[in-house]
């Protein structure tokens, strides 16, 4: 027998019923978590090829660390965004019992911003990783190839920057009461 509810619930009620602070906390987690996954993945991909290629062509070692640095930058974007979002998260007093519309907005904004930054950094990290791997092998074969493939990597790392820019704008107006 189905229980008769006092009031019919809809998905909208469920989503709005979740405290905005938890949305915001998740946003921060995505921002840093997914960015680090992307950066780690990228460094793993590039590093494996770099280590192997440097066995027969040791001269490529120093120059190709740039690929690793590009992947690392992705993690740094994630940390910066996470800190910005955390400041917004902590901006409110957190003491009022009622949840205002401004709080809801802040929660959603910070969540979306974190997801934006996290996912775009994930993709960017993997992209730079794959390109960096190709760059190491090409440099080992022919030194003049390094600079050309670096340009491809620069375009790839711009993707992470796009994510950060949009993320900052998304969360600009969000602040807890």
């Amino acid at each position: 027998m189905m229980m008769m509810l006092q009031q019919a619930m809809s998905w909208g009620d469920v989503l709005m019923g979740i405290d905005p602070h938890s949305y915001a906390a998740l946003g921060v987690a995505f921002a840093i978590g997914l960015s680090v996954v992307g950066a780690a993945w990228g460094i793993g991909l590039t590093g494996a090829s770099l280590v192997g290629a440097a066995v027969k062509a040791p001269r490529i070692r120093s120059k190709n660390l740039i690929s690793i640095i590009f992947c690392e930058a992705v993690a740094i974007y994630g940390v910066i965004m996470a800190i910005i979002l955390l400041n917004k998260f902590n901006s409110g007093s957190g003491k009022s019992a009622t949840v205002t519309y401004q709080d809801h907005f802040a929660g959603f904004a910070i969540f979306a911003s974190g997801l934006t930054v996290g996912l775009s950094n994930l993709a960017c990290g993997i992209c730079v990783g794959i390109t960096g791997s190709g760059c190491a092998l090409a440099d080992a074969q022919e030194s003049s190839m390094f600079v050309k493939i670096l340009i491809v990597e620069i375009f790839g790392s711009a993707l992470g920057l796009f994510g950060v820019i949009v993320g900052i704008i998304q969360s600009a107006d969000g602040s807890f009461q």
Partner: protein, 352 residues
């Protein structure tokens, strides 16, 4: 998506090894290296020039030089590199590398048997086996008296046991040996093809082309070698063709032909193969078609080395290095026998 992983996961398992393979492939001798060693007057000169390439001091412990010594040391270098790669390879790369060695194991088994029949000593025969094709128990093969013995004695357990199938031919005479050699090669190609298909991904894309070409080359060569051979029935001839390759659709017809014009006719619908046979005539030197096939396979191997994130580069490296060792042997022989006019008949790997 295959077992090897895709673009974004291949490096997790085999990234370092693949990069080392590319590094080794960069060390293949170039046009100017070949130019230098073909200009040499003696093997000492050749040793000097090779010291400046990736070969380095590979002959430094040799008191006397001969083409046999140079070939063996060059092959040792390939074998050491291969064994290192095999030792560090995770699954399924390890199994893939094992498949590459099976071809050499088959050649060794047949060499041992035919050598034993003509009465050579076991130790001498074992020294002549290809080092990549060593496996446990290979020495016991020399004791086999006929093919059933062979199956029972050793091949049940050895890694190449699965390529053998019982046939009506149980003697070790020359015709049967050739028949068995072809049968083994056919089974090997089919098994390897199926294995690469299971692996999937980019490896399958690359190995498909390489193995299909090998199979087609085998079919054409076998057809040409058995024109009018009476002991080989037409349906038996067809059974020796692997079920792999572009020519599968015309195997029926190819099994029945007995001359080059019919061959060219049958190959007309396959433009890249037709291009290799169209200038063929019965009075060509015996190996001109062989050379054309070799050049095409070199092209395919170089193409596979241009791609990343697949196992085909391991296969191509072994084949190209082996070709290089054969080239060095040819050049060394020409230098010793002073056949200057034939010294440039090695197979070119890189142009200019």
């Amino acid at each position: 998506m295959g077992l090897t992983g895709d673009l974004w996961t291949f490096n997790v398992g085999c990234g370092g090894l693949e990069a080392i393979v590319h590094g080794l492939a960069n060390g293949l001798l170039r046009q100017e290296d070949y130019h230098n060693i073909t200009q040499c007057d003696s093997l000492e000169d050749m040793k000097l020039h090779l010291a400046g390439t990736d070969y380095g001091q590979f002959l430094q412990n040799e008191a006397t030089l001969s083409s046999k010594v140079i070939t063996e040391r060059a092959l040792d270098r390939l074998v050491n590199d291969f064994k290192w790669l095999r030792a560090n390879a995770p699954w399924p790369l390890g199994e893939f590398l094992d498949y590459i060695t099976y071809e050499y194991m088959i050649a060794n088994v047949l060499k041992l048997i035919s050598g034993a029949r003509s009465g050579k000593g076991t130790l001498e025969l074992l020294q002549k086996t290809h080092p990549l094709g060593q496996f446990e128990g290979i020495g016991a093969l020399t004791a086999a008296q006929n093919i059933d013995d062979l199956y029972d004695l050793v091949l049940g357990d050895s890694p190449i046991g699965k390529f053998f199938q019982r046939t009506d031919r149980t003697d070790f005479d020359e015709f049967s040996m050739e028949y068995i050699r072809s049968l083994l090669h056919k089974n090997y190609l089919e098994h390897f093809y199926k294995f690469c298909e299971e692996i999937g991904g980019d490896t399958w894309m690359v190995m498909k082309d390489l193995l299909e070409f090998e199979a087609d080359r085998f079919v054409v060569t076998l057809t040409r070698n058995t024109y009018g051979v009476k002991e080989l029935q037409k349906d038996e001839r067809k059974k020796l063709f692997p079920e792999v390759g572009q020519l599968v659709t015309v195997h029926e017809d190819l099994a029945n032909i007995d001359d080059d014009d019919a061959l060219k006719d049958k190959l007309r619908p396959f433009p890249d193969l037709y291009a290799l046979v169209q200038d063929l005539s019965m009075d060509d030197p015996a190996n001109s078609l062989e050379n054309k096939f070799m050049e095409k396979s070199v092209q395919l191997h170089k193409d596979s080395l241009q791609r990343q994130f697949h196992y085909g580069s391991f296969f191509s490296l072994v084949k190209l290095r082996e070709l290089e060792v054969n080239n060095l042997m040819w050049i060394a022989e020409c230098i010793i026998q002073n056949h200057r006019h034939r010294i440039n008949e090695y197979v070119n790997i890189f142009e200019a």
